[in-house]
């Protein structure tokens, strides 16, 4: 079992899970509507939105400690998310024509109040802050 210190879903982690949950729902629902109603207009952008949705779902589940290896899932998802938003952000700033329709990660998430850029850093910081003690043993505090 995870203790409150190493749990990623207690305290500030609860807010983080809520924000990731909103993005998971938003990106997934948005891409589903786009792919079902106008897939041929901007297939790359919509497929990317769907991929972003899956990454946000994975991050939400991982941080909420759902599934067999939630911490590994969360690390993978926020790491992918960081690479995704930096890559897509850079590409869309350099060549705006690349994605005719906006995705969550376009222009580093400027259309979503820069939250898509801030979130992976917050996720990584939180996972690092709550990391378990090395070797899995008890943490011994030594007074100076």
């Amino acid at each position: 079992m995870t203790s409150p210190r190493t749990s990623t879903r207690t305290g500030a982690g609860r807010v983080l899970v809520a924000v990731y949950g909103v993005f998971a729902l938003a990106a997934t629902a948005r891409s589903l509507v786009q792919l079902l109603t106008k897939a041929d207009e901007a297939p790359l952008a919509y497929a990317l939105s769907a991929l972003a949705g899956v990454v946000y779902i994975a991050a939400t589940l991982g941080l909420a400690e759902i599934g067999p290896a939630p911490r590994r899932l969360a690390w993978g998802a926020v790491g992918f998310e960081l690479i995704g938003v930096l890559t897509v952000g850079t590409l869309t700033v350099l060549d705006p024509e690349l994605f005719p329709d906006a995705t969550v990660w376009s222009s580093f998430g400027a259309g979503y109040g820069w939250l898509p850029l801030v979130l992976p850093f917050a996720g990584i910081a939180w996972l690092w802050h709550t990391r378990p003690a090395p070797s899995g043993g008890a943490v011994v505090h030594i007074a100076n």
């Binding site: 609860r14 807010v15 809520a18 924000v19 949950g21 909103v22 729902l25 509507v33 079902l36 106008k38």
Partner: protein, 119 residues
């Protein structure tokens, strides 16, 4: 959808988020007053969904825009209950702050629904 209800809901949701932040600052846990406030917003979201369903036949919403509209309105209906379940499962400042996220999301969802509705 043309009446004062959407704007009232957006304002109420933003005020709700601000009140929650005061609770977080004072380290107060959610009480019945906060729950009642959220209940009013939830009732308003339900009324808005019904109004949109009644009026949607009379307006021009091409392509997938009616799907998007009801997507936003349904999300506005489920956001508060889900947020409360997630928040009330724990007693901490972080758990209370979840309700601020919910309030902001609620306001955003209704703004988007309003943008889709042809005026």
């Amino acid at each position: 959808m043309d009446g004062p209800l959407p704007l009232a809901l957006i304002t109420a949701s933003l005020v709700f988020a601000a009140v929650v932040l005061v609770y977080v600052a004072l380290a107060r846990t959610p009480d019945w007053a906060l729950l009642g406030f959220a209940g009013l917003i939830e009732a308003g979201a339900l009324v808005l969904l019904v109004i949109a369903a009644v009026q949607v036949g009379g307006v021009d919403l091409a392509g997938g825009r009616s799907i998007t509209l009801f997507g936003y309105l349904l999300a506005a209906l489920v956001a508060l209950p889900i947020g409360f379940v997630w928040s009330l499962a724990e007693r901490s400042r972080g758990a209370t702050a979840v309700l601020a996220v919910v309030g902001l999301t609620e306001a955003f969802l209704i703004v988007r629904a309003l943008q889709i509705w042809p005026s």
